[in-house]
């Protein structure tokens, strides 16, 4: 079951430049929350702060409070541990090129010391089924390399890989932007299904995607959270004028 994320007064910097200003937001459990906004508004930065990926960039830092269930993300827990409970799927599919499909999915577990092969087999199968890739690769699991799949398949492989460590939250940073419409459709179906077990936060520059897939939406502009509400409300009767301008395409 997924848990919710409570963000309070989150600020983030790249060196001296401030990228996020005082973000506060409640991401509800077991739902999909979309983060939308024009380029450079801080959506990716925000999401990367949730699993402390932001700090892997040299000279980048973040301050504030992020709570996931009982866990304080920034205080008292190692980043590595956070990232095992909050998974991430990136914009461009990045399977490990020297590993087979099986090894890719199992990577998160194997690299963290999990050795039981029978259970690994089960987990790999389960993850690939969850990401709707199982039927397409079940015969070539160990023979084909992760990089030999098509773009859409690679992204589903990355989703399976993220799911294999059984996180409670899944962060997706524009997961479909490098994919064709058919693959995009398949992944959107997936998200719909995954919501039942995980909490999903999806960054997207495609507003139609947000309205298809997410129950909640947050609109970012210039590093600030302008509005956060149910998706229907954001897209039909937004409270803030800036939101309305973005939705109706006056900018962005």
């Amino acid at each position: 079951m997924g848990v919710g994320i409570k963000v309070e007064h989150l600020n983030a910097w790249f060196g001296k430049t401030q990228a996020l200003h005082d973000i506060s937001m409640d991401v509800p459990a077991n739902h999909a929350t979309a983060i939308i906004g024009p380029s450079g508004c801080g959506k990716s930065t925000f999401v990367r702060c949730l699993n402390r990926m932001h700090e892997t960039i040299p000279e980048a830092r973040a301050e504030g409070k992020v709570r996931m269930g009982d866990l304080d993300v920034y205080n008292g827990t190692a980043a590595v541990q956070i990232r095992r409970r909050i998974g991430m799927v990136f914009q461009k599919p990045n399977p490990f090129p020297t590993m087979s499909i099986y090894d890719n999915v199992a990577a998160g577990l194997k690299l963290n010391g999990f050795r039981n092969h029978k259970q690994l087999d089960d987990i790999v199968e389960r993850s690939l089924k969850l990401s709707a890739l199982w039927d397409e690769v079940k015969d070539t699991l160990r023979k084909k390399s992760g990089a030999s799949l098509s773009g859409g398949q690679q992204q589903r492989l990355c989703i399976a890989r993220a799911l294999a460590v059984e996180p409670e939250v899944l962060l997706m940073d524009e997961p479909c932007s490098a994919l064709d419409p058919i693959s995009t459709g398949k992944i959107e179906e997936l998200i719909f299904q995954l919501k039942e077990e995980f909490t999903i936060v999806i960054v997207t520059h495609n507003m139609q995607q947000a309205s298809r897939v997410a129950e909640f939406t947050g609109f970012f502009l210039l590093g600030k959270l302008i509005e956060f509400d149910r998706t229907e409300k954001i897209f039909t009767t937004p409270s803030d004028k800036r939101t309305e301008d973005y939705i109706t395409g006056r900018f962005g």
């Binding site: 699993n51 590595v80 990136f90 090129p97 690299l111």
Partner: protein, 291 residues
């Protein structure tokens, strides 16, 4: 430039055309002139080397001066021993330094190390021999395979460091991020993901460094020193193929001259094998299936 249709376009002068052709011929001539010695060297190596190569050569130690027969078996083994020692020292340090430069050293201190590695690369091999003599032979009081190995390791390190760094930098940052995103610790990511992805390129670099030092003679002259007999001990003077070829070549004995050719042939064959192995490994491809 004013362009009038009344002016006939003059053809390129004969002079300019001839110069052009002459230069092309000269350049082609240069190529031939350079390839000639290469061909000649290989031809003589094969011709004279094969003549002197026999089973005895590969299995026996040198006979006393003046006697016919004998071989360089101990030199082949000695070279193997020295190269093994050199690799055990040079490869881990070289790769480690390369990892440091690529993953942690994108700063001024890293630049200093990079620069120093290049300086190290340019040190003449005979000078490396002097230094190995000073720090190993003098400290131990005798020549040894260890000293020879240390000298060769010093020469391997810059090449391996450079190759490792270059290959690691080619691994896309997205791969590392994928691992971080799974909650894999940084050290584990570097070891199991980044290094693994770059592995075939790194192996290429290591083998090239290996091939380069395999033929070196100068650094071994007063470190390993040479030996007429079998030696497997790390702390004794040891024969080496390149040393033996040198000693025989400058000797006044025809028999030894013959054997020098055979030894040289074996040496070049081993080096070619090492370089070919490189191409095979590199061909397996580090990024299978990606563009």
């Amino acid at each position: 430039m004013p362009n009038s249709s009344h002016v006939a376009i003059t053809p390129i002068s004969v002079w300019r055309r001839s110069v052009n052709n002459l230069v092309t011929i000269a350049a082609a001539g240069a190529v031939i002139l350079v390839l000639l010695p290469l061909g000649a060297i290989f031809a003589y190596l094969v011709y004279k080397g094969i003549g002197a190569l026999n089973w005895a050569f590969l299995t026996q130690t040198p006979k006393p001066v003046g006697e016919a027969g004998g071989g360089m078996a101990n030199a082949i083994a000695g070279s193997a021993l020295i190269l093994l020692i050199a690799s055990c020292i040079g490869v881990p340090i070289g790769i480690g330094a390369g990892v440091y430069l690529a993953e942690y050293g994108r700063n001024r201190f890293g630049d200093l190390i990079r620069f120093t590695a290049d300086v190290l690369n340019g040190v003449p091999s005979i000078v490396v021999g002097i230094v190995a003599y000073a720090i190993v032979v003098l400290a131990q009081g005798h020549f040894s395979a260890l000293a020879g190995g240390v000298a060769l390791a010093i020469m391997m390190i810059p090449t391996i460091t450079r190759a490792t760094e270059e290959m690691l930098l080619l691994v896309p940052q997205a791969i590392r991020e994928a691992a971080y995103g799974l909650g894999v610790a940084r050290w584990r990511t570097t070891l199991s993901i980044t290094l693994r992805t770059a592995s075939s390129g790194i192996i290429t670099g290591v083998m090239l460094a290996f091939a380069r030092v395999a033929g070196e003679t100068a650094p071994l002259l007063f470190t390993a020193f040479g030996n007429q007999y079998w030696n497997w001990k790390v702390n004794q003077p040891t024969a080496a193929l390149s040393l033996q070829v040198f000693t025989y070549a400058i000797s006044p004995f025809d028999e030894w001259h013959r054997q020098a050719w055979a030894g040289a042939l074996i040496l070049i064959v081993l080096i070619v094998l090492a370089v070919s192995a490189v191409r095979l490994v590199a061909g397996r491809g580090m990024l299978k299936g990606t563009t």
